[in-house]
């Protein structure tokens, strides 16, 4: 899918560049602490659970469940209301904000805990966003086939 123009564009920093390199390459990259095994997000080069600087980047499954959301009814550049601003809980544990695509933006279709999978969506040549869609076999109620 193509994104409508006007969205706020993220600017990677040295500590987050690996995440954005990952989405552009079609990988959802998380970090895990080598010392205490904590998996965490957003990116930083140390573990927020134990403070260790020995952490590794790994490719996450891209699967998760719909944890919570709102449906925004006001106009925002880059969006056509009503649209959902959602939080996905990844299979690996961390949660991240996202939008849900390929799904009606209604309370009936957006059921909490429904399985989701990542849908990498380019914004431009540098930035690709990790959006999510209902996982196959779990078509959202009311979704078009």
């Amino acid at each position: 899918m193509t994104l409508q123009a006007g969205r706020a564009r993220p600017e990677p920093t040295p500590e987050t560049q690996h995440f954005w390199d990952g989405t552009r390459a079609g990988e959802l990259r998380l970090q895990r602490c080598d010392a205490c095994a904590k998996t965490y997000f957003p990116p930083r080069p140390f573990c927020p659970a134990c403070g260790s600087r020995k952490v590794s980047v790994f490719r996450a499954s891209g699967r998760g469940r719909l944890f919570s959301y709102i449906i925004h009814h006001r106009a925002v550049p880059g969006f056509t209301p009503p649209y959902a601003i959602a939080v996905v809980e990844l299979a690996e544990g961390p949660r991240m904000m996202t939008n849900i695509v390929d799904c009606p933006q209604t309370p009936e279709a957006l059921q909490l805990d429904m399985p989701l999978e990542v849908a990498f969506t380019p914004m431009d040549e540098q930035i690709t966003l990790a959006l999510f869609r209902p996982a196959p076999g779990n078509k959202a109620q009311g979704a078009k086939a």
């Binding site: 706020a8 959301y69 601003i85 996202t98 939008n99 909490l112």
Partner: protein
């Protein structure tokens, strides 16, 4: 540890007008409230030797505008509960002898936007990278993010979340300064314009102009002032995250729990001792989270507690008695107005006065569950 009641609020006032004040810039709302608070105490500007304020109106700007020479300053800015933290820090500073008399000011041209607070996007911040691209537009789109998870976890109904607004309108109907005073029903709330599902217009705070100021000094001096002192019995503070998507538990605020329990412990009070409660209500779920995280009710019980009218006029725990951010006023940083109402209730001068308030708790939030501050005020010095 500072003993409960060692420091008191001896002056408290709001700006002369609140609501829509298009003839005052933001800095003048600070000054107007400060001058009113000084008049409340009989002090002169030259008596102030400590100053705390928040945001772009840094202490240096307010000090210069008011002509104050402070020897102690605090510019702690953690959002709308910053004033609770200022009270806590000021009490410690007075106790330590860093200063004698502290002025805390707030002014915000939230509605008229005269010299208002710019909120620039920061695309390199973590929020700018990992929240902004998904379409949030300020607090109405972010603060309610945890609500559906909270509702599902505890079986909270839309009607219960509507009842928060209904009850607070009952309180504001008794308050001539409140922006919205007409009684509303659950149906009115659920039929109001959708803002960010599950929340509708009447479940979102007002956007107003206004200011407020507090003056604190040691309890030993407090009896010399014209108004009854409000003794500071206990305070607490904490922060969690600037990103609501990253709060650890979508059904409970860690910052609320830390700030609240610290304030109660310091004050040496139990929940049954609390006669009056203010919980910062930028949106309808906040009083529910506050009641549970402060321990007034068990997990998931706050919706029923409010529905059963326990916090309404005549209820056993009168809460948000000025009408709150939903119906009284909300400049953007409402915590100052929650504190003002707690002081009025302890003094016995509130428009909707609760009988015989000995202890009032004012609990604030900053950002989207980013931060929290709690202040316990007492009518009597322990």
């Amino acid at each position: 540890m500072i003993a409960p009641g060692s420091v008191a609020i001896v002056g408290a006032a709001e700006s002369t007008r609140i609501g829509v004040v298009p003839d005052m810039s933001q800095i003048m709302l600070h000054a107007d409230a400060a001058l009113n608070a000084l008049a409340d105490t009989g002090l002169k500007l030259s008596d102030i030797d400590g100053l705390a304020c928040v945001g772009p109106m840094m202490p240096q700007q307010i000090a210069h505008y008011l002509g104050i020479t402070p020897r102690w300053v605090d510019g702690t800015g953690v959002g709308g509960c910053s004033f609770m933290l200022h009270v806590r820090h000021a009490a410690a500073a007075i106790h330590a002898g860093y200063c004698n008399t502290v002025l805390i000011t707030h002014g915000e041209s939230g509605r008229s936007r005269i010299n208002g607070t710019p909120r620039p996007a920061e695309p390199q911040s973590l929020g700018g990278q990992f929240e902004s691209p998904f379409g949030p537009a300020g607090p109405p789109s972010l603060f309610p993010i945890p609500v559906l998870r909270y509702m599902k976890t505890y079986g909270i109904t839309h009607e219960q979340l509507a009842m928060v607004a209904v009850v607070q309108r009952e309180w504001s109907s008794k308050n001539p300064r409140a922006a919205q005073r007409d009684l509303v029903s659950v149906e009115d709330v659920l039929n109001s314009r959708m803002i960010a599902y599950p929340f509708r217009l009447l479940q979102c705070c007002l956007v107003t102009d206004g200011g407020g100021a507090l003056i604190l000094t040691s309890a030993d001096r407090a009896k010399d002032f014209p108004q009854k002192p409000a003794y500071i019995l206990g305070t607490g503070e904490s922060v969690e995250t600037t990103m609501v998507s990253q709060m650890a538990d979508f059904t409970s605020s860690r910052a609320f729990r830390v700030a609240g329990s610290e304030a109660f412990r310091m004050a040496g009070i139990k929940h049954a001792d609390v006669d009056h409660l203010m919980i910062y209500d930028a949106f309808a779920h906040l009083p529910l989270f506050g009641l549970e995280d402060l321990g007034f009710v068990g997990r998931g019980e706050a919706g029923h507690f409010i529905e059963e009218r326990n916090t309404a006029p005549g209820g056993k725990l009168p809460m948000n008695t000025n009408g709150g951010g939903l119906s009284y006023t909300h400049t953007g940083m409402y915590g100052m107005f929650a504190l003002q109402e707690s002081v009025r209730q302890v003094r016995g001068t509130a428009p909707a006065q609760v009988p015989d308030v000995e202890i009032s708790v004012a609990h604030g939030v900053g950002g989207m569950f980013s931060s929290s501050g709690t202040v316990v005020l007492g009518r009597d010095r322990p």
